[in-house]
Amino acid sequence: MKDKRPTDDQQASLEDFFGSDEEEEPEIVEPPQEVPPESSSNEQSIDENESTENDSDVDDEEIPPDDTEEMVTEIQVGERETPSNLPPSYLLSVDYAGAQRKAFARLYNPNDKKIYFWFDNTGHKPYCYTDYPPDVAETKIGRHRGFVRSERVELTDLLRDEPVKMTKIIASDPLSIGGSAGAIRERLVDRSGATNVSHAWEANIRYRNCYTYDTNIVSGLPYKIEDGNLIPSAPKLDKKMLDEFKSTFEADEDLEKIITEYAPMFFTEVPDIRRIALDIEVYTPVKNRIPDARTAPYQVTAIGLSDNEGYNKCFVLKRPEIKEGKKGADYPKEMELVYFEDEKAMLIEAFRIIDAYPIVLTFVGDAFDLQYLHNRAEKLGVNMNRHCPIYLARDLALLQRGIHVDLYRFLKNPSIRLYALSGAYEQFNLESIAKGLLGVGKLDLSDDISALNYFELAHYCWRDANLTLRLTTFDDNLLLRLIVLLMRVSRLSMEDVTRLYISSWIQSLFRQEHRSQKYIIPRRIDIDSSKSVEAQTEAMIKDKSFKGAIVIDPVAGVHFKATVLDFASLYPTIMKQHNISYETIDCPHESCQMDPDNRVPETDHWVCTERKGMISQTIGFFRDTRVKWFKPKSKDKALDEQTQEWYGVVEKALKVFVNAAYGVTGAQHFELFCMPAAESVTAYGRNAIIKTKEKAEEMGVRVLYGDTDSVFLDNPSEEQQKELVRWSTEELGIDLEVEKTYKYVALSDRKKNYIGVYESGYVEVKGLSGKKRNTPDFVQDAFREMLDVLSKVDTVEGFEAAKEEIREIVNSVIDRLEGKAEAYTPEELAFRVQITKRIGDYGLSKPQHVRAAEMLQKAGYDVPPGTIVEYIKIKGGDGLLPVQMAGEKSYWLDKDKYLDTLRSVFGQVLDSVGINFEELLGFTTLDQFF
């Protein structure tokens, strides 16, 4: 339907004569630089209750590009410890100190559990490259205050696979390169032509990363300081184990290098770093309103603190109107309640405590807790230099000494949620996350937070802090260890890795790779101009620019004993197998281009056989080591438990990278995005599925459905399954795995919509809206009941009995809707949708939830962006009513609207099992009577 041309083929379209402007290439003025994306500034106002509605089906392509603006830390490290000798300590972050004009590192010494600082002593300076010869470059730069000198260097241009001479422009400080008006990189722009052409390379890398790459520092690994020098000191790896590890790969010189580089990262364990979690409560005169952290207008009433060594306190401010109250049932014995008469004194004491910790954990600390504490302290006239360890940057709250980890930002990261933690939680509030990961929730409150008595307030506040801490301690410090591993692989500091997304991690990893090999990092314009930017395949989905994965049309109906075979990490395997990387696709070698074996299916692209692709090699290595070593070994009972657990963490970290490899590199905004590479990966993917389907059919097995990397087979025998798996390894070079056999699968005629029932009775629901969060609870509950019934069906005949049970479920729902049985509460009936903008910012045609928000606002409720609006559908008036207002007036439920919702949710499933929803409602058909 995307093509809205007249249906008559003979009719020409005017577009044919004018030329379509759809695909017009944007004028590229400059390479993508440090333009802060709009999105990041919004996060300030997002509160804990943000729903995941918009992120429900995040695929990695939609991860927003990360902010790359240069930022200079005005850190006061004068009084900090900068020893000239330090035993092996874990490097937690690399940063730049404005005052000293030097990079510095924070190191955690596990012996005394303190943070130590090390300042650069190599004289490393910020720089960028240009293709202007030094004299031209210097003329262009003119008298820039930050310019130090230029020098000629030779690098390798991977796009052309040849050496290239560049001029290195060295500056005194990072802001001189980029990040201030009139910076050097701005001066390296040729403005003489019709369009401006930038002649700056690698000018948009933050200096702290630039320093890390050049010095080959790996954050998260141990370093020692000896006579003022920073020296890697990862523990010696067991030779036997390392040899065994190496032997799992085919001998290869390049691989040897990669293994040497990564082995310390993968095999060095992570200590239980000393850390404290903090949570605050703030008085608010308006119920449900979260006070603005920027202005910090109200008193901080409580500060909960909980560390990993048994320190548990809650500071509580004495207020005249508040009583001590009674201790709740599970009031924590381990917590000490400390009263303060003076708010200022309370803040200063809290600052003193947290300043002593290497890591401070919060949940939404960037946008709220730490920001509020900082701004409140300032407002109360606290001597900030002397007492406050917090400093604020845009959307960030950082610490002078330690590292602030805002777990909200880290756990919101889709890679962490979906891949590392297997989607254990769906909403990004502490309640859901703690329930999902720890199995416990927040404390239920008896009153408004501002009116709570001291015991309950302290209990509530401390519990939040304690839950925050426990998020990093459960499963033997899983999350802490994961963070450190991700730091190592992505070469990012702890502050960065916990706040940035996978695309930045992968970008950082490859920037490091280029730097260490003396390859120039190409700019998007370089890749686009040396390879085609036009896709050769046509997108089948709107808004995509090239052809994606294949979906085999489902054979609608119920199929017993359907077996699903899938390709294990198909895209990463293809990238590795076919050597697909930005520099190896459509490579400059004529011999590669001429060899028909190198041709990519469905396209004119070819792959390189002269050189190994950087992306394919690294991702391929991650994939292989995960599959061949860490995954099996994490379950290997022959190993001690600690090693098994550690391998489990490494396996998860690798999974994150491997799963995202294609999503990131195949996304348009990625630094090394290359159209031919992206479309070649999907082309090979389609090829694999099509070939598998052909092979299965040749063997006499019917293919019921297929999507991207899996095929559903109609009751294949063991031998047939084995034969296909063997065939795939031999013919395609991709591992095909028997993923599961369903008791039955009910396919609807729409793609990506089915239920699969396992022998165990577990029901897998794909793409059906019964699971969507904005579906009212009563529908979700009924939907679950229905699945429960369907899960018990064992034979075709069984559906008849199931039908009657489902009829009962539907009947009782309708009875309750009609008021014939216990009526549903407004909460059970509520549709929940988040408003993402201010109400005034919505256009004239307002969707329902916005109209509900408007009604709330008129009734005196505060409805900031991020609020999840809950409303019910009623007859008359506006057709809806916010749940909060449902108690105030009488109304008629709009039963038909609710039936529509029920119908759309149930219909999707019932159709595929041959049950007519209308019939459940009492509609009959004539054929029953003839």
Binding site: D815, E818, W892, E918, G922, F923, T924, T925, L926, Q928
Partner: protein, 255 residues
């Protein structure tokens, strides 16, 4: 060979209107004795049964058995072009696979419609027995349907003794219309009832059918929780019937 003429365009329009309420394609079965059509709507909740004996037509020649399958939209559009005093002429062009409709009036106009592929199976005539049979003014039935539609999306009909009752209930209230088959003023001419049947039907079907009714009287038959039959005469000796599946009360249904 099939050829027929009809003097009354209003009869033809009446037929097309009635068919258009339920169907998107019409499937006429033409034989020596006349034209019949029997089809279920797409949801199988309703059937239309049309009988047009050859005698309705002024001229009627048919030497065999033909399936004439046409799109309702097209047929409707052509009907709208007919003038009141036109004489109609129908012909099947087997060679070109066309159905020809000629309107002979001040000008002679001819439309040719391409035949659609006929379904493989013909719908069988259902055998139904009814507990209640009412002959009544069509208008009284139309008003009752409209009345119940104010509050409800379905109509319950009950017959008992000399009374026919239509009721409906919705979320916001109830409605009831009752008619007695007694006296000269009665809107019901004749009522036969055995037992005391009640049944419920979807109102959206009834409204559509009521709208398409253009006769003065109709026959209504139904049984307890069984289909309803509504029958109208066409050109005295022809007839058109609608059969409607009941809506079974959810909680009365045996489980």
């Amino acid at each position: 060979m099939f050829h027929a003429t009809l003097d009354s365009t209003s009869t033809w329009k009446q037929i097309v209107d009635a068919l258009a309420t339920l169907l998107t394609e019409v499937h006429f079965i033409v034989s020596k004795s006349g034209i019949i059509l029997r089809q279920l709507d797409s949801s199988k909740a309703a059937m239309v049964d049309l009988v047009l004996p050859a005698k309705i037509f002024q001229e009627y020649d048919c030497d065999g058995n033909y399936d004439i399958c046409l799109g309702v939209d097209e047929l409707n559009k052509i009907s709208k072009r007919m003038a009141g005093d036109d004489r109609l002429e129908f012909r099947l062009d087997e060679d070109d696979n066309r159905f020809e409709i000629k309107m002979i009036g001040q000008a002679q106009r001819q439309f040719k419609l391409q035949l659609l592929t006929a379904p493989d199976e013909r719908t069988k005539k259902p055998s139904l027995e009814f507990d209640a049979k009412a002959e009544m003014f069509a208008d009284a039935f139309k008003q009752a349907v409209k009345d119940i539609g104010v509050v409800s999306s379905h109509l319950r009909i009950a017959a008992s003794g000399k009374t026919l009752t239509f009721t409906g209930e919705g979320d916001t209230g109830e409605a009831e219309v009752s008619m007695k088959a007694a006296g000269d003023e009665s809107v019901i001419f004749h009522l036969e009832v055995s037992a005391k049947p009640t049944a419920m039907y979807a109102l959206n079907y009834l409204s559509e059918i009521a709208k398409a009714m253009s006769t003065d009287s109709l026959t209504l038959q139904f049984s307890e929780n069984k289909p309803m039959l509504l029958e109208f005469p066409i050109a005295e000796i022809g007839s058109i019937s609608f059969i409607l599946a009941p809506r079974v009360e959810r909680d009365r249904r045996s489980t």
